[in-house]
């Protein structure tokens, strides 16, 4: 199977003064192209730390990370920025939209940093198309404050999709949403996964949310485990 992500024995240790705080203690995993994976674990177990490494925002203390067959460990900061721009889409718990900026401009924003520059018109056309795809074709000129939480997160998803990345990383995308709008957003992810074959990795606390994924990976205290403590068998990990 074509692996889009391949990590081996990833360690991440933070230094707080003289004290070394190991957060990731040797994680190895694969994610196949087109998979939809949920990452679960208790708070502080290192999920976000792992996502930051997968998202090329951070570098592991040791270990090998291959994205799309390319070794990420020895890229420069600027090269990693380029990878983030072309190959990754981020969806955050707190949406992170630019305030007082239209949905259209928010979605088009990553294009500013794309090497082969599109014309202004083309950029706007593409942003409008993306917003239409997430069901916000009518709200191009709305500012974040004029949109509901679910709509804001959909704008954020459109922004993540603008450069047509093969991989989307979502850290607790439904953490700030109620269950109904959560369903909306998850349905959107599922559509993207099933119809466009986009690989999605999603961090969540919620087993209901994790159920939308093909596969669940459990992290406990910086290590991948088969099941979380106090968890029943039917939610156990199914390795492909």
């Amino acid at each position: 199977m074509d692996k889009i992500i391949e990590i081996q024995d990833i360690h991440k240790t933070y230094r707080m003064g003289d004290i070394a705080v190991p957060v990731l203690k040797g994680i190895s995993l694969f994610v196949g192209r087109g998979e939809m994976v949920a990452l679960m674990g208790s708070s502080g177990s290192g999920k976000s730390t792992l996502m930051n490494i997968l998202g090329c925002l951070d570098r592991p203390t040791s270990g090998v990370y291959k994205l799309d067959g390319e070794l990420m460990s020895n890229l420069s900061a600027d090269q990693r920025a380029m990878v983030r721009n072309r190959k990754l889409g981020f969806v955050f718990q707190s949406f992170n939209l630019l305030p007082r900026t239209s949905a259209l401009d928010n979605v088009a924003m990553p294009l500013t940093y794309t090497a082969g520059h599109l014309s202004e018109k083309e950029a706007r056309r593409r942003a409008a198309e993306m917003l239409a795809r997430v069901g916000l074709g009518e709200r191009l000129d709305h500012e974040p404050s004029q949109l509901s939480g679910g709509q804001q997160q959909r704008v954020a998803i459109a922004r993540a999709l603008i450069n047509q990345p093969p991989l989307i990383l979502a850290d607790e995308p439904t953490g700030n949403l109620d269950s109904r709008t959560s369903e909306e957003v998850l349905a959107m992810f599922q559509t993207l996964h099933q119809q466009e074959g986009i690989t999605i990795i999603m961090v969540t606390h919620d087993p209901q949310v994790a159920r939308h994924a093909q596969r669940v990976i459990y992290i406990h205290d910086g290590l991948i485990v088969d099941r979380l403590p106090g968890q029943d068998d039917n939610q156990a990990e199914v390795r492909p």
Binding site: A81, F90, F92, M109, Y113
Partner: protein
Amino acid sequence: MRYAQKSWRTFRTALKALLRNPMRAMLTTLGIVIGVAAVIAMMEIGAGSSASIQKTIAKMGANVLDVRPGAAASGGVTFGSGSTTTLTPEDADAIMRECSAVRAVAPLVHTRAQVVYGNRNWVPTFIYGSTPSYLDVQNWTIGSGVSLTNRDVANGNKVCLLGETLVRELFQGENPLGKEIRIKNISFRVVGVLGRKGANMMGMDQDDVIIAPWTTIKYRVTGATLSDANQSASSSSSSSVNTLSNLYPSDQPSLYPERSDVQAADNPMPVRFTNIDHILVSARSAGQIPAAIDQITKVLRERHRIRPGEADDFSIRDMAQMTEALTSTTTQMTNLLLAVAMISLVVGGVGIMNIMLVSVTERTREIGLRMAVGARAKDILQQFLVEAVVLCLVGGSLGIGLGHGGSLLVRMLLRWPVETSPAAIAAAVIVSASVGMIFGFYPAWKASRLDPIEALRYE
């Protein structure tokens, strides 16, 4: 093409970011607005006064040299020591005769006295006694009537030319030509009115003047005295001996009986040359001024029998020097004010830096997000730098408008000369962009050094 598109996009992004908080942007750039406005206004007013000084100088005749007796410069009236004489009309003739770099020469005596016409009186700033060539030297023209003649000078005729101010004060609309005015009870017939000249560099009204033959002023008005500096001296000396009073009869009664021609021939008295107050010399051109000074010095030293090594008993003042001094004073004032204006620009720059730092802190999450979606450190640096520069340029443009408006207002209300200076506008644009660059750099650099993970997590 692609580069232009990228620049345009960067500019647009910066403008949009600024417009997210327009009130703050305006207040931030206020310092630049004021600084640039001050610079523009200073430059325009400074350029205006320089230009008007140049104009005044041109009107005055920049080629004019002023030869004065050496002692006169110190204020007192002395005859000099030994055989030395001060300036005489003969000196003036000699200069005209012997100096090739000289175009025209006019001896000059001056006095102050009350002028009466009918029941009106006036004390003009200047009563000059000279020759017809005075007008030539001063580049002055007759407005109406005729000029003085050499015969008037030789005969000590009681004729005069009036400046416009005097005509206005004494005649109040009447035609002055042919009328008689009285100076110290001596009647003068007005033969001509001078053209308008306006104020001189010192701000004195040059039209407040009477010009008469120097012989008339010297012997009829001030008597035989050299002194014009104070009136008491002139009245007390009215009884003093004047050997030339035969030649140029004075109204004052002579103390001594007149000597007959035989007596004079038998017993010649040393002739006391008549002294005059100035000799005005016009050089052939501005470039001839140094040559003219050399020639005049040579002629006068010879005539005054000054031995090599001895100091001159006269001084030559070059108008160019004075105008240079005046111009440099204005330039210095302008530069001083410009420096103050520059300081306010720097203060404005510090304001920009302050607000940009606040803005960077406020927009930490935005910076993190931009980095997450692919902005490199230099993209962030560029974005904030462009924001600061755009802010300063907007402030600069407003400042140019304000400063220009201010200087126009000064021209209208205070009637100061003002001159639009494209160089100042170009300088203002460059300076405000540089202020943006310099003071925007630190905040932008700080923004570019943020860690994306921490920036995204920033509350």
